[in-house]
Structures are given as structure tokens and as C-alpha cells.
Assembly symmetry: C2
Homo-oligomer: 201 residues x 2
Amino acid sequence: MIRIAFATRNEHKVAEANRVLKEFGIELYPANVEKLEIQSDDLEEIARVAAEHAFKKFGKPIIVEDSGLFIDALNGFPGPYSSYVYRTIGLRGVLKLLDGCRKRDAYFKAAVAIALKNDLVMVFTGVVRGSISLEPRGAYGFGYDPIFIPEGFNRTFAELGEEAKCSVSHRARAFRKLGEWLASNKQLLSPNNLNDDSGGE
Amino acid sequence: MIRIAFATRNEHKVAEANRVLKEFGIELYPANVEKLEIQSDDLEEIARVAAEHAFKKFGKPIIVEDSGLFIDALNGFPGPYSSYVYRTIGLRGVLKLLDGCRKRDAYFKAAVAIALKNDLVMVFTGVVRGSISLEPRGAYGFGYDPIFIPEGFNRTFAELGEEAKCSVSHRARAFRKLGEWLASNKQLLSPNNLNDDSGGE
């Protein structure tokens, strides 16, 4: 099992990543590294810069993830600032913006970046298309899960629960791409780079 | 006249700053420096980090400015992300969020940071309180000016025009504090630090 640091304090994200990465023989462990998040309309750029910065602080390969909800009728809003928007106007505010709006298409996107060396950062993205519900529904998950209905379903992420979310979610898709790529490029992960303080190899 | 670089490409901002700084014997000139804007709920922190970063790139004293509109009923939204929100949901979206809302209090805030040396960054803030109009009104200015009515007036910034805005605006207030401080601390601005490429002393 290869262990790699994941710059996050969100245990749900670690668990979601590890459910996907297990089959590739990879396990992430949370690392409390100062995270630099720049302002940009481009999730990939935010993740890339954060990974470069985290590597400088941490000195070993490290993964960062950033994600957002992009609503077509709102020109992509809340996008990279989904977390801030959730904390301020909330689900009710987002639904109010869509009041009377028939076109409710949206997508969740995740960008997962891994910094392997100072100048070697790879970014993988995952997208799940869907639509915004008329009301919040369901209790599973976090953030915008209660108002997002993934394509091919008629229930929200918060109604569907862990297993369905894990099979179609943007984050799961991005981590799957990372896993596939790492499985083919293990030589980049020299063992002495990966030892963490909390356990052996 | 002391000339200092201002990391912006917005000529309106340079002009607004110079109208205030003239009386302190200071003139800003626009400098095309890569700007690092972090995600934070704290405007001062965004300006401080941007100034530190700009100094590293530029090597001479440099000023950055960041500002936002904070609406009480929306928990401060759009705040530090005012520019992104303006580009996506726009004035109409912000007004829709306040539909049926009687409490329309808001404030504009600006944070002006000057980096004088690697470890010497000073931040000055300016605030103007007011309220959000029911409809956009007026043609002067930019951004949220058409929906912001400053306290003591019954017209929006976009109706009031240049002079009124310059006398009460958040940005003018922050630059005034900077000017006052610089006037008392001129020794920090050694002349050989300030020469720019576009003119002599």
C-alpha cells in the first residue's frame, strides 16, 4: 500500500478518496499543511497553485483537491467560490436566484492536483452533470448535495447516499483518474519520498 | 512629488487614488505586476498577501488595493468575491437575492496595502456604509455603483458622480489613511527605491 499525503482537514474527503484509490493500492492520509487558495475562475489553476505551494511547505509528494458547483443559468456561479457562497447566502439563496428559472442545468467539478517534485504537478478533473432541484431534499453528504440531482437519477445526492455518490461523483471521478495515472507511473513515487510520520511503509 | 507603483490595470482606480494622494505630494503610477489574490473572507489579508507577493516580483515599494461590497442580510455576500459575483449573477442577481427584504444595509470596504520591504507591509482600510437600492440607477462609475446608496444621500454612487464619490468612497478613505501615514513616515521611502522606468525624480 502506497501512502500519500492529502492536504485537507475534511475527513469525508479523505474517506471518499480512499474508497476509490484502494483498488490502486493507494491510501491517502490527511496532512495539516497551510493551504494557499488563489482567486481564479479556473479550478485546475487553483488546485495546481495550491499543490505547488503545499509541496514547498511539506517537502514530500502531496495531493490537494478543489471542487465547485457550476450552474449554467448563473454563468457558472457559484463555481470556485462555492464554499463561500454556501456559508453566506446558502442553499436558499442559490434556489432564490433560480426562482422561475426552467433551465436548471448544473455540474459539479473537482480538480485533484498532485505535486511530486518542485516542478512536477499533475492535475486530474472529474465532472458530474445534473440539475438543481426545486427544494433541498435528503440528509446525506454536505454542501450542495441536497439540491443537486445527478443525470440519470431523480433524487438528490443527499437522498442517494454514499454508494451512489461514490460511483458517479465528480470527486470520485477525479481521484479515479489520479489512481489510474499513478498505477502507470509508480516510478515517480520513490519510497523515501513518501514516508510519513505516523507509520512505516 | 513622490511616485509609487500601484499594481493595477484599472485606470479609474489610479485616478481615484491620485485625486486623494495629490495633497500629500504622492502620485501613483500603474505597474503591470502579476497579482496574487488569495481566497479569504478577510480583505486585509488578501491585500497584505498580494502586496508581499508583488514586492517579491517587483523589487520596489508597491501598492495593491482590494475592495468589496458587504451586504448585511446576506451575511456579507458578495464580500471579497464581489468581482466574480458581478461577472456571473450581476446586479440583477444581487437584487433578486434581496427581493422582499426590507433590511438592505450594506457597506463598501477597501483595503490598501503598501509593501515597503520584504517584511514591511502596512494595510489601510476605508469603509462607507449605505444601503442597496431597489433598482440600478445612474451611469457613473463601475461595478456595484448603480445599486449602492451611501449614508446621508438618497442617490446611488452611479447617480452622484465623481466628486461625491471621491469625498465619501471607501477607496478614497483608505488612500487618505495611506497618504497621512506616508506623510509622517517619509523616511521609509528612500528615493533610490522609488525610481520607476518611466521618468526621473
